[in-house]
Amino acid sequence: MIKMKAAEDLSKELKEISVAEFFEKNRHLLGYENSTRALITIVKEAVDNSLDACEEAGILPEIKVSLKELEDSVFKITVEDNGPGIIEDKVHLAFGKLLYGSKFHRLRQSRGTQGIGISGAILYSQLTTGKPIRISSSTGKKINTIEMLIDVVKNAPSIISQQGESNQKKWHGIKIEMQAKGRYIEGFQSIIEYLRQTAIMNPYAKIIFKTPNDHQHTFSRVINKLPPKPKEIKPHPYGVEIGILRRMIQTTKSKNILSFLMRDFSRVGKRSATQILKLAKIDNKKKPHSLTHDEIDKIHNAMHLVKLIAPPTDCLSPVGDEELKKGLEKEIKAEHYVSVSRPTSVYRGMPFSVECALAYGGDLENTRRVNVLRFANKVPLLYNQGDCAITKAVVQTDWRRYGISQSFESLPNGPLAILVHFVSAWVPYTSEGKQAIASYPEIIKEIKLALQDAGRKMKLYISKRRRKQQMKMRQNLFEKYIPEVSEGISKISETSKEKIRTGLEKILESGAKKYEKEDQD
């Protein structure tokens, strides 16, 4: 009895640890483990939200990011978009409550999913500076500005000040300002690199970045059309985890379990639903809320045994191979670009698709290390490269077949940039930091197929280029030797040097023409 009592007390205490509190203690899970990465994460969360909001509202995004160092290693971060804005009475909830989001309970391709991101950034800001954040929002009418903090224990926003002002210019969007401790760098893993890669993947967005040193970088818009909006789909039974199934059963509006299966899942008709329930030995008429854990387990098992059509694949919105190429062209000055879009495929009941693009030569000649740009649902992945399915697929691809050097089981070498974009309604990240894609065999296989396809296209260019280079080298070598050999032959044959030289030059020229012709054929 005493033991029971203690357990009850303990669980009471447990309940009082809010999600916000938990993340305050485990901030490394969200990408705040060091001061450099913290700044990148804050910018990333705000920009991802802005892009998602603009796309959803059908607005071509224009995003302004600025960083200013207020005092030693304390920065003011401002992100402003031209999105639809948030209505006045929801602003504080959208930013101040973790797991409050529009994206978690649906299955659709989007950047954010969990409703943790921006609130995590606010928590970090609060934790390192104690200062409230400032959010201005407008849907086109008046501009509403609040200052708020997050009450860590209650997982709720606490508003400090609120004011409205008139909006002459009919501005709409959100502007968020916060202060946070951090370290600003430029380079391989940095805010600039994150924005540059974002610009590659979102060529229809304009992004302006003002650095702490007052430099302004403009990533321009090269496409004036938004990609089609991804459709929302219901989950496919093969891809549902037991936990998600439980939550779906708890929140469903269906009256009985049979209609729950038919209404809340894709590709489940009356026949399949009946079959599932028969296998699970559960009555069709049973109310979903009355199911025990054991019964839910049985349904979960049965769902995987019934034969079902693969999930619909029209729910994804890849960037498109041409657009991808344009994005890459504007940020990486190379000699040649190729891109490939793979048809939609399925891993564990979840539709996904892979796009990839390669850039070769040009500015890339200076970096002997191949640049692998990884993206999931248009978001650049800067960290945990080694754990990512994309990196594994790149390493496993035999690049030497395409004229690119590579040591055994490592990244290829040469003036090459490899861009891989993974698109899915549900991206299987390896951790909450969302920096690496889990290595499901189906995923690795699709990425490899995309890379091989792109590799073959690039090979055509590389071999042509190599032939041209060799040709040029040969020409050069002959040209250098001609004056020398003319002198020698002139001496031993007692013939004019000029005559020999002109003769040799003529032969060289006609030979070069012949080679060129062969090259065109």
Binding site: V485, S493, G503
Partner: protein, 361 residues
């Protein structure tokens, strides 16, 4: 003088051929006999190595030929100049004469002397003129002593009166006139150390012979001098080397010619040269087994290759030597004879061998 005109003509002919190629819009090329074991033929009748008739074309407009092509032209131009002013250059000097970097490039006409040496040998083949005729000299690496008087460039030289060093043999011995040759045979030895031993012991006086050496493989000047003494004075040539595959090969080259100089074997080979020692039998008879230095893998491989050479394959005497050498599995140096006594080689070994006519041919 006639020879010189012929050499000049040959070089000019090469130049004219190239000019005609160029005039006809053809890729200029020169035809060169291939120098390799595969194009070396052992002439069973006269028992020397000859160059086969396989040739290859060397083109100017060919990435893998161009460097050698230009080197050959450079050497030809240098030779022409030498013939015009009637002077000679050494191999090393020719290398420096043509060595330069093409302006605005990192291309060197020659990177090291082995390349210019090869180009000179190629030119010999193309023009069918020897290096000597091309006015190019090798280093002096040989010494000789004996009762011989010669005339060289107007000087009279007595090989018996040149102190401890003897006469150093030039690379070109074509223009030497023999005035008096008083000797019954010639001993050629692999090592200068042995030559000095025999010279100090005045062996040439005792046995009325000529002693000659160069360091290691006999140079062309030495070989030509030996051949001339053999041809013009019918002096037998006896070869003295260490007991190892490399020593045997020195004898092989002297007698049959070498693969790299197969094209001039008839001017160098001494078809009746005899091998004096050290033989496998000497090792037993003179109790030298205790001085064996164990063979390495390369030595055994060389021995195996040599025993398969066409000119040794059917020679029982030599096959017996190869077999003994394989069984002894080690080499014995000439210097080991000194263990028997300071002048054992001149007092006992050589007189005995010559007296018994103990030669292998």
């Amino acid at each position: 003088m006639k020879k010189k005109i012929r050499t000049k003509e040959k070089i000019k002919k090469l130049g004219r051929k190239l000019v005609s190629d160029i005039d006809n819009g053809k890729n200029p090329s020169m035809e060169i006999p291939i120098r390799s074991l595969s194009n070396t033929i052992f002439d069973k009748k006269i028992k020397i190595l000859r160059l086969g008739d396989k040739t290859s074309n060397r083109y100017f407009f060919n990435i893998s030929h161009i460097k050698k092509f230009v080197q050959t032209i450079e050497v030809a131009a240098t030779t022409k100049e030498l013939l015009n002013v009637n002077k000679h250059l050494s191999l090393r000097e020719v290398y420096y004469r043509i060595k330069r970097t093409i302006p605005d490039s990192n291309i060197n006409i020659v990177d090291d002397q082995s390349e210019s040496n090869k180009a000179i040998e190629d030119l010999e083949l193309i023009t069918d003129c020897s290096r000597e005729q091309l006015h190019i000299n090798a280093n002096k690496t040989g010494s000789v002593a004996g009762n011989v008087i010669i005339r060289d460039k107007g000087d009279t030289i007595n090989w018996a009166k040149l102190g401890s060093g003897g006469w150093s043999i030039p690379s070109n011995v074509e223009d030497i006139d023999f005035k008096k040759v008083n000797a019954k045979f010639v001993i050629y030895m692999e090592k200068a150390a042995e030559w000095e031993r025999l010279h100090e012991d005045k062996l040439w006086e005792k046995l009325n012979c000529i002693i000659m050496s160069s360091q290691g493989q006999a140079t062309r000047g030495v070989r030509r001098l030996l051949q001339r003494l053999n041809n013009e004075y019918k002096l037998p040539i006896y070869v003295l080397t260490d007991f190892d595959p490399w020593g045997f090969y020195i004898y092989s080259v002297l007698k049959f010619g070498s693969i790299s100089l197969a094209h001039i074997s008839d001017r160098l080979a001494i078809t009746d040269a005899g091998f004096l020692g050290l033989s496998g039998d000497d090792i037993i008879n003179y109790d030298l087994k205790k001085y064996l230095i164990k063979f390495k893998d390369v030595d055994l491989k060389r021995l195996k290759d040599m025993s398969n050479y066409e000119w040794f394959k059917d020679n029982n005497k030599w096959q017996k030597q190869f077999k003994m050498m394989k069984e002894l599995n080690g080499k014995v140096e000439l210097a080991a004879l000194s263990s028997k006594g300071i002048s054992f080689i001149s007092d006992v070994y050589l007189p005995e061998k010559i007296k018994k006519k103990d030669f292998i041919k």
